[in-house]
């Protein structure tokens, strides 16, 4: 046993100032390093995700993708005169793939490409939009007057000869369902949090809290199926709108999924308000409700804000509910129209795509945007909650 005092080795607070050195114990040392290694690998893996999803989207962000129907053709006969870099990019191969292929195969590929472009039907070829690269930024964000339409429109239509990738309808769809969900969920969850943390008897509290947490445990496909089979019919008979499955139904079902999250964060924040605040209010004659509404709620208001922000992040990232209930990509702010959110677009269209195609990369870009939005909301929510707790505990 090495005889070292904490002072000699530096105090380690977590272990109450006691420090057992691994010196002279190779096994201990190895285990320690292994634990460190595994955890660093795990954490590096986490960062890898962020990098990877962003990397796949990079060509779109830099406008390097090309989704034109009619692409420039380099005739196979000119292969010898074309520089290899141009050839490699033209055939859409990676450097390694390009090196692995011999001249004969390359020639065949070019021939196939040339023949393929001849197979494009005449009507599509004569379409004025056949030379439009729909994956360019201006087409992604601004309306464009496609042939056959009488005015510029926002259109997401990634299949067919002319691919249209306007992402605005998807953002509208996401925001629409998310906002409906939040408007439904937040007041309910807040009122319940206020009740459970301030007004409910302890015995009630012990049963209600796990109950609401259990709502979070229902898989979202189940909520989606319930919305499809039951909720849609109920809401239709209640509000008498025309289309049975629409953004409104999806939004309410999203609300079901968001309630437990908003509830538990808000409840946590309300409970962390010191008891002395309430006792002081009660002592000067306030009722329990008055103390809850006028003292506890204002003191915990940043926590409530954080709950809403985190609820927003949860709702905008939810996939299966909206995917089951509605999915037509129409550009409309009407609550009772269908809506396709960012998440459902990724879920519905990713499966069959060729890696590296413009459509594939645009879906990764949508994923990156989604990731960035939820990352920021989470960061903001965490920050606000931590500050609130520190303040309520009297630490600055």
């Amino acid at each position: 046993m090495t005889e070292e005092t904490p002072e000699q080795r530096g105090v380690d607070r977590d272990w109450s100032g006691i420090r057992r050195s691994a010196n002279g114990r190779p096994l201990e040392w190895i285990a320690e390093k292994m634990i460190q290694g595994v955890s660093f690998t795990a954490i590096a893996g986490v960062f890898l995700i962020f990098l990877f999803v962003g990397k796949e989207a990079f060509p779109v962000i830099l406008s390097q993708t090309d989704s034109r129907l009619i692409q420039p053709i380099i005739p196979a006969s000119q292969m010898a005169t074309t520089p290899p870099e141009v050839l490699q990019r033209y055939l859409g191969l990676s450097v390694r793939e390009f090196k692995a292929l011999d001249q004969e195969t390359l020639k065949d590929l070019m021939q196939a490409r040339e023949d393929g472009s001849k197979d494009i039907p005449e009507y599509a070829r004569s379409d004025p939009d056949s030379g439009v690269n729909g994956s360019g930024w201006s087409y992604l964000l601004t309306p464009h007057q496609w042939s056959g339409y009488d005015r510029p429109q926002y259109i997401w239509q990634p299949v067919g000869n002319i691919q249209k990738f306007n992402i605005i309808p998807l953002f509208v769809g996401s925001l629409k369902t998310t906002l409906i969900g939040l408007f439904f969920a937040v007041p309910l969850a807040l009122a319940a949090a206020l009740y459970v943390s301030q007004l409910a008897p302890v015995r009630v509290k012990e049963w209600v809290k796990p109950g609401i947490e259990m709502l979070a445990g229902i898989p979202s496909v189940v909520v989606g199926a319930f919305a499809l089979l039951v909720l849609a019919t109920w809401l239709q008979s209640l509000f008498h709108y025309e289309v049975r499955l629409n953004a409104f139904v999806a939004g309410i079902a999203l609300g079901f999924a968001v309630i437990p999250l908003v509830f538990s964060i808000a409840e946590d924040a309300l409970t962390s308000v010191p008891k002395s605040y309430v006792q002081a209010a009660l002592a000067v004659g306030a009722s329990r409700w008055q103390a809850a509404r006028d003292i506890v709620l204002p003191a915990a208001i940043p926590g409530v804000f954080a709950a809403v922000v985190l609820g927003f992040g949860r709702a905008i990232g939810e996939t299966m509910i909206v995917l089951i209930v509605c999915s037509a990509p129409v550009m409309s702010w009407n609550l009772f129209d269908s809506a396709r959110s960012i998440t459902t677009t990724i879920a519905a269209e990713m499966g069959e795509l060729v890696p590296g195609s413009p459509h594939y990369r645009i879906l990764f870009m949508l994923g990156t945007i989604l990731f960035a939005v939820t990352f920021l909301t989470n960061l903001l929510g965490d920050f606000v909650i931590n500050r609130l707790k520190r303040r309520l505990e009297g630490k600055r």
Partner: protein, 318 residues
Amino acid sequence: MSSSPRSDAPRTLSKSGMDWGSSLGTAVSLAATVFILLILFVILGNVVINGLPQLSWRFVSTIPKKDFFDKDSAAVLPMIIGTSIRVLVMTVFVIPIGVTTAVYLTEYARSNSWYTRVIRAAISNLAGVPSIVFGLFGAGFFVHLIGGGIDDMFGATSPKWGKPALIWASLTLAVMTLPVVIVATEESLRAITPGLREASLALGATKLQTILRIVLPNALPGILTGGILAVSRAAGEVAPILFTGAAYFLADLPRSLNDQFMDLGYHTYILASQAPNIEKARPILYGTVFVLLLLTFSLNAIAIFARARIRRRMRSGH
């Protein structure tokens, strides 16, 4: 409350005369609570009432034929097996890595240094990343990059690993549930009194011995709770496995880690969205949802109540 006191005498609670505002406020907040619980019970009740009659031994023990929208050939055995295996494989990866990371964070890393704070922030952020983003990551990274890389290395002519498969779905889910395990383990490690560690060290045990023989066994209930929570969350998730391994229909059960599999949640989605006649598919859908709920919900209920008990014991104990 903005009423200013009219006299210097302290205000007292008025025994007579109801405080209408307070009663109304209490009633409304109580109603909201009841309404939320009602949502839970309506969903559960609806699924149980409509799903339970659909359950039969044949339904859970046979492999369906290609046309699983038909009431007579619908069955869920391969889905139950697929979901169970993918969750099991996930557990094998996520529990050791998650627990090790949590041990490092609580026992070895200095708790207030900047990098532990960055790591904690990253982990709690990871928990909020939408599951579909994990699906994208799994498809791009595991299936195409790693799987495709393995194929290239061994010169496979047809994709052997570079296609959606059980192992990639499980790994994607493992990455997704990593924060759940880390956070739950950290919580239960921190709940152990320093006195226990000190006693062990005082008897001459090394730090590693203390962690392995004293700290971890005592934290086991909390770690298990975290594991169950991760499993129940993963079992119900569909978005991450959409393009990393779930199959629309397979005539066979998965035999190896690079096979695709059928999945309860994904099957629910197919029944709900692609049935040619939703009214005909309704009973099958309810039956499938019931089985899925039974699987995820029982796990979840155990975890929630176990955690509530641990927290209560912690509060009252020391």
